[in-house]
């Protein structure tokens, strides 16, 4: 057990280390974007961005900035050798068709069965926006969630049943969080690693004991 919870960058590094060489990967907006900082050219990982590109490179800086070359978060990015562009229907054929090996998304809540809630915090005053989250959650071959395990009030985001509106049911395979890596399968959850907390205390705090 590590003595401290992980920083966001440390979580991102763990995710990057667990992505097999040669994978086609989609990184959601927000926290998952940090994973790209730990993907090097020799890791041979090809990034997909839902707005129509494979072979996305790092964020564009200075003279590299081209407003017609952006990622899903509308941040200017660069293109790597071997990049390709395609329209939205093809981009989502890649997603729904199971061609994306791994998708990493942020989450408000994940249920013990692997249901994901990440598009609507549930506040009726919010303007609902879903983007590609539902397609990614139901279509990617493997779904990783990256999040802090507890919200600001200390409540677990891994819960029996999501209270926020669902993005997709039974889609999350693994949670990478500041306090634990947790595998979710049909057989239930399995704590793979803990950081700054004992497994017993962790299970207590998510209401599993």
């Amino acid at each position: 057990m590590a003595s401290e919870p992980l920083t966001k960058s440390e979580i991102a590094k763990l995710v990057a280390n667990d992505i097999p060489s040669g994978s086609y990967v989609n990184l959601g907006i927000g926290l998952p974007t940090l994973v790209s900082n730990f993907i090097t050219p020799d890791s041979d990982i090809i990034l997909h961005t839902e707005n129509g590109m494979l072979g996305m490179g790092p964020e564009a800086l200075g003279d590299e900035i081209d407003l017609e070359l952006i990622n899903a978060g509308k941040i200017p990015v660069t293109e790597l050798l071997g990049a390709s562009y395609f329209h939205q229907a093809d981009s989502f054929a890649m997603i729904r068709g199971g061609h994306i090996d791994i998708c990493v998304l942020g989450a408000f809540q994940v249920s013990l069965a692997g249901d994901l809630a990440n598009w609507h915090a549930g506040d009726p005053n919010d303007i609902p926006s879903v983007g590609g989250a539902m397609d990614l959650a139901s279509g990617a071959a493997k779904m990783f969630v990256m999040m802090t395990l507890f919200d600001k009030s200390g409540k677990s985001k891994l819960i029996k049943e999501c209270t926020a509106p669902l993005t997709a049911v039974k889609c999350v395979n693994r949670i990478y969080s500041d306090m634990a890596i947790i595998e979710i399968s049909a057989g239930g959850i399995e704590v793979l690693e803990v950081f700054g907390i004992s497994e017993g205390e962790l299970l207590d705090r998510i209401g599993m004991n």
Partner: protein, 224 residues
Amino acid sequence: MAASFISAAEAISQVTDGSTVALSGFGLAGQPLHLIDALCDSGVSNLTIIANNAGNGETGLARLLGNKQVAKILCSFPRQQDSQIFDELYRSGKIELELVPQGTLAERIRAQGAGIGAFYTPTGVGTQLAIGKEVRTINGVDQVLEFATEVDVALVHGHIADQQGNVVYRKTARNFGPIMASAARYSVIEVSRVVPTGDLDPESIVTPSIFVNAVVECGVNHGK
């Protein structure tokens, strides 16, 4: 019918009060700003807009919304840091929103252009966005029935057209352009320049001229 090469104002005359208009673009990348300005100037109203987002800042789709020309919008991701014009209209009940997952939105447009009336997709099953829709289990996977979306006029931002009306795009500004061009009864593509037929490699053409009714050369390049 071969594509015509006309002004933005002439092309926009195809849009009338109550029309359904598809606008290409992901944020500002690929938004047909030149054609949308002509649409704003035309004063047509009560439009239904199909677009991925609901406007950025004060230009393009945001300007059209601010002009109160839009009754309804179909989109996947309206809320952004700079979507203040939409946010205000939505919160005061002055615009109707049909929220559609991005891939379903793309496929509803693609299907229309391909003559497919509806399709089943796993996206959205078990969520609020599938309420009231037929769900069928196909090959062991629950899928929701989604219908093609009719489009009267598509306004698309391309990069270069040839004199035949074939179009190529630039980088991630391609996004919804090709499928919207094929879906609409009347498709208008704004391009930064028109080149002689034969100058574009036939292997590189993304939108063949059969999907293009009008080309508007506007000399604008929103990239570098």
